[in-house]
Symmetry: C2
Subunit: 200 residues, 2 copies
């Protein structure tokens, strides 16, 4: 049975109606950056502001996705690519459901992020580069992972012995080594308001 044998059912409740219910547009806010850069922390702070404004939001991050949907995947380049592909498709479904979905993954490869933008659509995809110097991320080391990577206990760790490809043209750059978390989250919220995605 080929996928070509499937057809879209008409009459489903359209995204536009879900957006109307929620009184804001759907978007995927894609946070990318090194481990320890503050992706999840900023994403959580951003979601809190948006939720308190009454918006329909959700966060996808390494924790809830790696322990469920992608628990069959490791950290090889191929598995990282499949990890991001699945997250992309799930984020697209959430956008289709009328949500503002915030994804917080290292997503180190430019090609994977560009593919995400292509699948989700340029209009719906907001790339947020959470930028902090490697040395600072390594100092923070909230989960002790850099220490393990330096000790050789973890192989293929982004920034140590696996690459991080810096975004060339992100919608936003947040310098979490220069600004505090609340300020960074507010930058994202202000962007959404300026773009007419949410009401001020």
């Amino acid at each position: 049975m080929a996928v070509g044998d499937l057809h879209f059912h008409e009459h489903r409740v359209a995204r536009e109606l879900k957006e109307k219910r929620n009184q804001h547009k759907s978007r995927v806010i894609w946070f990318t950056g090194l481990s320890g850069s503050g992706k999840s922390t900023v994403a959580n702070a951003t979601e809190k502001i948006l939720h308190d404004m009454g918006l329909q939001t959700y966060i996808l991050d390494g924790d809830n996705v790696r322990m469920g949907l992608n628990k069959d995947l490791g950290f090889s380049p191929e598995d990282r690519t499949e990890n991001i592909r699945r997250i992309t498709e799930v984020a697209k479904l959430f956008a289709d459901s009328g949500s503002i979905v915030l994804t917080a993954f290292i997503s180190p490869y430019r090609a994977d992020r560009d593919k995400a933008r292509g699948i989700i659509s340029n209009e719906d995809f907001i790339e947020v580069f959470v930028n902090a110097d490697l040395s600072i991320c390594e100092d923070r080391d909230p989960k002790g992972l850099y220490k393990k990577a330096r000790a050789g206990e973890i192989k293929g760790f982004t920034g140590i012995d696996a690459p991080y490809e810096t975004p060339l043209n992100p919608e936003l750059i947040l310098e979490t080594d220069k600004k505090d978390i609340e300020t960074c989250a507010q930058i994202v919220v202000d962007y959404l308001a300026e773009e007419g995605i949410i009401s001020k």
Copy 2:
């Protein structure tokens, strides 16, 4: 890098707060049945009623999932199991986001559906057996798939040369060969109200 190295971030907006925003509880309504039994049609009709009541809803079905997240999977027993596993995990995320998510998949294997219930939680999982005689499904044949299966053009088609394992203890049974679509959809909505999941 082992998954055990990941930790749940605190301070995310809890499901309970999202449910409070939406003024209803989250659930996964799992429609299962033969091709042509009316799963997607009833799911769409149910969603329309719930959306018109002001609820946050989403449908996952073979069409939007098979063309995206699961486009790497075929219809072998292993791929069907992986298909349902991924759908289960995505449905769980939607429930966590405060949505009532309706899934419409043949999901022919009892073990896969029971696993879905276990992963999602017994409380959140509402199994709806969309029951119509094979002969009627085959007469309807909305996508011409039974015809192809009978002609041997499609292999491993549920009900023809692949098994469908009838639910033993579903929360609801909808006899779409005896009742019309709107009546079936209303049965689901009434169930949600009786269970206190939505307000009447």
